[in-house]
Amino acid sequence: MSEVPVRLSVNGRTHEVDVEPRLLLVHLLRDRLGLTGTHVGCDTTSCGACTVHLDGESVKSCTVLAVQADGCEVTTIEGLADGDALHPVQEAFWEDHGLQCGFCTPGMIMRAVDLLAHDPDPTEEEIRRGLEGNLCRCTGYHNIVRAVKDAARHPHAGRIPAPGVSADGAGAGRELAQEGLGA
């Protein structure tokens, strides 16, 4: 079974890797690129801990093959902050203590950013519905919902960060990271 070349942008940085077709996107991110902020929870498309953005939309990376992300832009939790400045949704989770053990937090935040991108001023009901694909094992939903509600006050809470290689045409000048050096 031969490997397949995949070229994708992760958090604004281009990677070229050869992968087995059966490699899941979450394992490419975690095991090959060292981006361990994306978690594996249920591994059955249920819990949302592995949520990342694929071309600007939230997906469960345990149910996407790495080869399906060829030519795409991926954003992980590591790509949200601007240097030391947390993303507004990260800031709100911090302020409202929207976490207990923290395991679901990266997926919750990635989903929340996408939710706010489509619906900048959601009601509590809309937030709960919008997060239905993300499970918190600690059942800490109350503060998570509060954090998303508070984050919505920020004008850029739904901003999809890491403008991509193809989206803004800036790819040509970007550093090309080889596998293993990308983290």
Binding site: P21, R22, R111, G130, G133
Partner: protein, 282 residues
């Protein structure tokens, strides 16, 4: 969980994709959003030897109105459907599929070709009496009505080496509609789902009605006894409640971890009443 080994191609044209599927034989599978297939592969319940990824194919996504039909490309995602309120019951149902991350990947063509009776869109295709176009590598093309598409559990008229290339759903302008779905947890498959479509006559009575179930048999099925009870009669709460009592007639719901067959029959009656009331009011 990791899928078993498989070969992978991502052809740039429909003809190439059909040829690759034909060459791959029975163990070659097309890959659209992958949200039915990949979970099965991870659990080794499906072990295809070749995946033909459809992601590079142009012209197989999008939503267009053509005369009385919605023409929908098979690679159109649930997320695209849910944001088109003008699609009526299709949009309303798409918004209830699993969760948003799944809807951002899953496609209408994938869902219909997979033929899981617990999936939501097959019942909508059955109720609207929609149809699909199926193509094979030899250039053959045929149109298959919803009633003939779903043959058995996970078995559809889409054979090896074939692809759905178009989905047509009658727009049913002027009909009221509702999709009711009961789940134990928010993102679950439906224990039971009901798609109800109602057309009122000028005098307020029921000119026509369609009711179809999710997960009440090995395929989506029409509730013909409910339809017969309502068609041509009054469309008030009493008539709807009486008709809904026929909901489980002719069904054969599979018992599973979430619900016994009897409980599903009960749900079918309750959800049919709710769906018809909403459809009659909308």
């Amino acid at each position: 969980m990791i899928p078993a080994h498989f070969d992978y191609v991502a052809p740039a044209s429909l003809d190439e994709a059909l040829r690759a599927l034909a060459d791959g034989g029975e163990d070659a599978k097309p890959l659209a959003g992958g949200h039915s297939l990949l979970p099965l592969m991870k659990m080794r319940l499906a072990v295809p030897t070749l995946l033909v990824d459809l992601r590079r194919l142009e012209g197989l996504r999008g939503i267009e109105r053509e005369n009385g039909d919605w023409r929908i490309g098979p690679l159109t995602r649930h997320a695209d459907l849910q944001r088109r309120a003008d699609l009526g019951v299709v949009a309303q149902t798409a918004a209830l599929i699993a969760d948003q991350q799944v809807r951002n990947r899953g496609t209408i063509g994938g869902s219909l070709a997979h033929g899981d009776p617990a999936s939501d869109l097959p019942a909508v295709l059955a109720a609207t009496e929609g149809r699909v176009t199926i193509r094979d590598a030899g250039g053959g093309s045929r149109t298959v009505a919803a009633a003939d598409l779903f043959q058995d559990y996970l078995t559809t008229a889409v054979g090896p080496g074939e692809l759905i290339t178009e989905v047509r759903i009658p727009a049913l302008d002027g009909w009221g509609h509702a999709y009711e779905k009961f789940t134990r947890r928010a993102e679950d498959w439906a224990m039971v789902g009901v798609c109800a479509l109602v057309k009122r006559a000028p005098d307020g009575s029921c000119e026509d009605v369609r009711v179809a179930f999710t997960n009440m048999a090995s395929t989506p099925i029409r509730a013909t006894a409910v339809e017969q009870a309502l068609r041509g009669g009054p469309l008030d709460d009493a008539a709807i409640a009486a008709a809904a009592e026929h909901a489980d007639e002719g069904t054969d719901p599979p018992a599973d971890l979430n619900a016994s067959a009897d409980y599903k029959r009960h749900l079918a009656r309750v959800l049919t009443r709710r769906a018809l009331q909403r459809a009659a009011g909308s």
